[in-house]
Structures are given as C-alpha cells and as structure tokens.
C-alpha cells in the first residue's frame, strides 16, 4: 500500500497498520487483504462481489474492520457485505470508504450491507465516508439493511465529510421485541455536492426503541435531503431528530414521517434547520475567537463532537 492509500485507510478507519482482529480490506474493486479469527469468519460470496461475516455466539469485545479504498477513476464498485451476528455478542464493526480520484472519470462505490443481529447482542457500527481529488466525480451510495432480534442493540455512527460529489444513502431496519437502534448520522456537503439520506425503521416488536439523530452541514451551493419514516406497530418508542446548519446558498430539506399503527406507539420527530445561531457565535467571540474561528469550532463540534 502506498502513502496515499495508507492515509485514506487511516482517515476512514483510524488504522495505522493492519488490524489485529478480523478484517477485509478492499482496494480499487479487488481484495487487498483479509483475515478471520476463531470467533469471526470472513468468506467471499460465490455468485457476486462481497463477503459474508459470521460472528459466533457469545463473541465479546472483538472487532471487524472492512474498509474500502479507491484511488482510480472510472471504477463502478458494487459490493454486498452480509453480517451474521450470533447471540449474546458485543462487537465493534468499522466500515467506510475513502476515494481519492485525481482523474476526470467518475469513481462510484455502492456498499450494500446487511446486518442480522442475534438475541441479546450488542453491535457498534462505525462508518466513515470521505472523498478527495478535484477532477472526477466521487459517488457513494451506501445501503444498510438491519434486522434486530429480541433484546439486541445496535448503535450506528456514520460520518460523511465534504468532497463526496453525490450520495444516496438508505437505511432500512426492522426491530424485534425489546430491540434498540440508535443512529447518529453526520453529513457535510459543500460546492455543488448533494446528499439524500433515507431511513425506514419498523418498530415491530413490543418495547422496541429507535433513536435517529441526523446532523447536516450544507455549505456553498450544496443540497441535502433527509427523509425518515418511523413506523410503530407495537408498544414502542421512536424519536427522529434532524438538525441542519446552512451556510452560503445551500439548501436542506427535512421530511420526517412518523406512522403510529398501534395506539401504544410513542413516536416523536423534531427538525430544525437554519444558520449558525448568533448567540453561539457571540459566546465564542466573547471568549476571544474570530467569527470564522467560532464558525469552524461550532461546525466541528456539531459534526464530530
């Protein structure tokens, strides 16, 4: 791996060297390196691009890294990664895609991930998307499908920073009895970039719970659209929050939909879009920061805090 590739890998997965646990590193549409452990088995799919990741029952305090890096233009990389997480697990899964495209051609990565989380298991899923290079388009279209079994818990932290030309992001989840899904999605766009993000969460089990928080920063003439559909079919709790900061001539659209199909469902949505609050700027300026420094600090905290 050259210096540029190592840098991309570090940015998306905080990896400085090869990870110690299970991993699968994909580079420019091909396998770069892979390792399984006795608890986590990674095998390639036979009929299409992608891998199956099987995590044994009772696996605790283990991690899986599956980063993707693309450093060429003209690549259309479609990959299917299916996670089968057994019962009573507690694992960290780190994914993400870094594109550096210095050519005039488009680089496109579509990661279709499915998660089957077993009973009483706990999963933290971290996904970073970054794109660099001034010339060709850099497109990322991730799809995440989730099935949470009884009393399981999944926390998703996604971050997409400036540089991605366009992105269509979909997350579809079905929650069983007592299952919890927490999502923190942070997206920043600039120039003429656009991102559309869509959540459909079915609270199918009694006492299931979903909390989705989306933080958007749109600069330049960029465009972001957030759509969510939270469906309560049982005694359940769901909360969707979409906060957006707009700068320059950017535009943000938020369409939070809640559908209580059961009278015991408790569903809430909140959406707030606007410029950086002037009282926040004034406070930081009163501590000695210039307006620009204060804006940067507020945005950094909002996206990465």
């Amino acid at each position: 791996m050259n210096k540029l590739e190592k840098k991309l890998l570090e940015k998306i997965s905080d990896l400085h060297t090869m990870p110690s646990g299970a991993f699968n590193i994909r580079k420019n549409g091909q396998l770069f390196d892979r390792a399984s452990t006795k608890e986590i088995e990674i095998t390639p799919k036979k009929n299409k691009n992608g891998i199956n990741i099987k995590i044994k029952d009772g696996t605790k305090n283990k991690s899986v890294h599956i980063p993707v890096i693309i450093t060429v233009g003209g690549l259309n990389d479609l990959v299917y990664n299916d996670f089968y997480i057994g019962k009573d697990c507690d694992v960290l899964i780190v994914a993400g895609c870094g594109i550096h495209n210095a050519t005039c051609k488009t680089s496109l990565h579509s990661g279709i991930h499915s998660f089957h989380v077993g009973q009483n298991s706990k999963v933290r899923y971290v996904e970073k998307h970054i794109a660099e290079g001034k010339s060709g388009d850099k497109i990322l279209n991730p799809i995440t499908k989730i099935v949470l079994q009884k009393n399981s818990f999944m926390q998703i932290e996604t971050l997409q920073l400036d540089g991605v030309t366009s992105s269509l992001r979909k997350t579809i989840a079905r929650l069983g009895e007592g299952a919890t899904l927490k999502v923190q999605e942070n997206i920043s766009t600039s120039e003429q970039q656009w991102t559309k993000t869509y959540f459909k969460v079915l609270l199918a089990g009694r006492d299931s719970r979903a909390e989705i928080v989306s933080h958007s920063v749109a600069k330049g003439r960029s465009f972001q659209e957030f759509k969510s559909n939270l469906i309560g079919q049982e005694l359940c709790f769901g909360h969707v929050e979409c906060d957006g900061i707009m700068m320059d001539e950017a535009r943000i659209v938020s369409v939070p939909m809640i559908d209580a199909q059961n009278s015991n469902s408790s569903l809430i949505h909140e959406a707030a879009i606007g410029k950086i609050a002037s009282d926040e700027l004034i406070k930081l300026m009163s501590l000695g920061l210039s307006k620009e420094e204060a804006e940067n600090m507020i945005i950094e905290g909002f996206l990465l805090g």
Partner: protein, 236 residues
C-alpha cells in the same frame, strides 16, 4: 480603565426609533466592583452589551484604558481583557465543557487545572469535563459553568449580566465568595440582588435609559432600601 462618553443606544420599535440608553457618561476605576441596577427595561443589560460590543452604539464613545473600542468587534475586546458572563448561558450541540474551557483559557488545560477552575464554582471536573455544554445540563449547572468560563479569561474587566439568575441557594453563597475574591480586576455586575449590591464599591442606578444615581454603595443602598420600604407600605 473604562470610560463611557455620551453613549446612546436606539432600537427600532414599531418602525420608530426608541431610545434605550440616552447619553450615558461614566468612569470606571481600576479594581473596583460596580453594580448596575434599576427597574426592568431601564437599560442595564443594554449598557453591559454595549461595553462588550454585543450591541453597537448608536452614538458616543467607549474608551478602555485610553483606547477607543467603540467599533471593535467582540473578540478584539475579549483579547484586550474584557470578559462577559451571559444572563442566559449559551448551549451548543457537540461542544464539550472542556472545549469551552480551553478556548476561554486560550490554551489546552490539564485535567488538574480544569479541576481547579470548576471547583471554584462547586463542580467536580470528573463529572463535567467531557459533558456536552448542551440543554441537558440544569439551569444552575449552566450558570456555574458560565461564571467559570469568565474566570478562566483572567480579564482586567469582568462583566456579569444577572449572575444570580437561575442559580440555587448554595451556588449563590459561592457566587458572593467569587466576587469577593476578584480583587485584581474591575467588575461590572448587572443585578437586582440585595446581597450583590452590598458587595459592590459603587452602584449605578438606571431609570428609563438614563443614570438616575451614581455613587458609592453607602450612598445608593439607603436610597434603594427607602424606596423598597415605600413600595411595601403602598402595597399594604
């Protein structure tokens, strides 16, 4: 150290100019504590905001250690040595208490240093250092952190806008101790609170945007107490 010359502030109200502060002239000396008091709407907070640059003066001058700061932005005034604790503390999404302390101090602080800062306002650093400065904190906690941030700046001029608002009884005693300990700075406190009036050196009494009385605490407090008594008698 601070001189206010013919300072006025007008705001638009129903498409008409309304005089909020009218031709204020004041001189603040080094290392004294001044309390600005007066009825609601008298212009107390407006005067404090004009000194910090949060509101622009309509006319007049503000001199800080001889320098004309009337048109300086807020951050330049902060750098010259003016701090400002807000009446309603500002909250953020994603910024931690530690981040704000580092900015207020102008440098990264160690855990022990932050512990020392927060203990001045009765908070334990271990419980607060990595907490977001957001609306999940209580009004009292936010207020104490607001005071701590002002203290971090070690300013030559500290401005506190109604520091007692939203603070609990225990914190109030603590707050009085803090003001009593600020001996090497000039302090301007906007307040209605009797105990705060008593720790001042000078009191500025505002009424309808003008100075009704400016004098030593010993002169102004009896006047205010007399009025308070008269109000009580009238209400009975």
């Amino acid at each position: 150290m601070l001189e206010i010359i013919n300072l006025s502030y007008r705001a638009q109200d129903d498409n008409q100019d309304k005089e909020i502060l009218d031709n204020i002239n004041l001189k603040f000396e080094d290392n004294y504590t001044y309390v600005i008091t007066g009825p609601n709407g008298s212009g107390k907070s407006t005067l404090a905001k004009l000194v910090m640059g949060i509101l622009p003066a309509s006319s007049g001058k503000i001199l800080f250690n001889g320098m004309n700061i009337t048109s300086l932005p807020i951050n330049e005034r902060a750098k010259l040595g003016i701090s400002y604790a807000f009446q309603t503390p500002v909250t953020f999404k994603g910024l931690k208490i530690r981040d704000l302390i580092d900015v207020a101090c102008g440098q990264k602080k160690s855990f022990d240093q932050i512990c020392e800062i927060l203990s001045k306002v009765g908070l334990c650093a271990k419980d607060y250092i990595n907490r977001p400065l957001d609306d999940k904190l209580s009004g009292g906690e936010l207020k104490r952190i607001e005071i701590a941030l002002a203290l971090c700046q070690e300013a030559k001029l500290n401005i506190f806008d109604e520091p007692e608002a939203g603070i609990d009884l225990w914190s109030f005693d603590n707050l009085i101790d803090i003001f009593n300990s600020l001996k090497n700075s000039t302090n301007i406190i906007v307040s209605h609170q009797k105990r705060i009036l008593h720790i001042s050196d000078y009191i500025i009494l505002l009424k309808n945007g003008q100075i009704e009385k400016f004098g030593k605490k010993e002169e102004v407090v009896p006047l205010l107490e007399k009025r308070q008594c008269a109000r009580l008698v009238r209400s009975k």
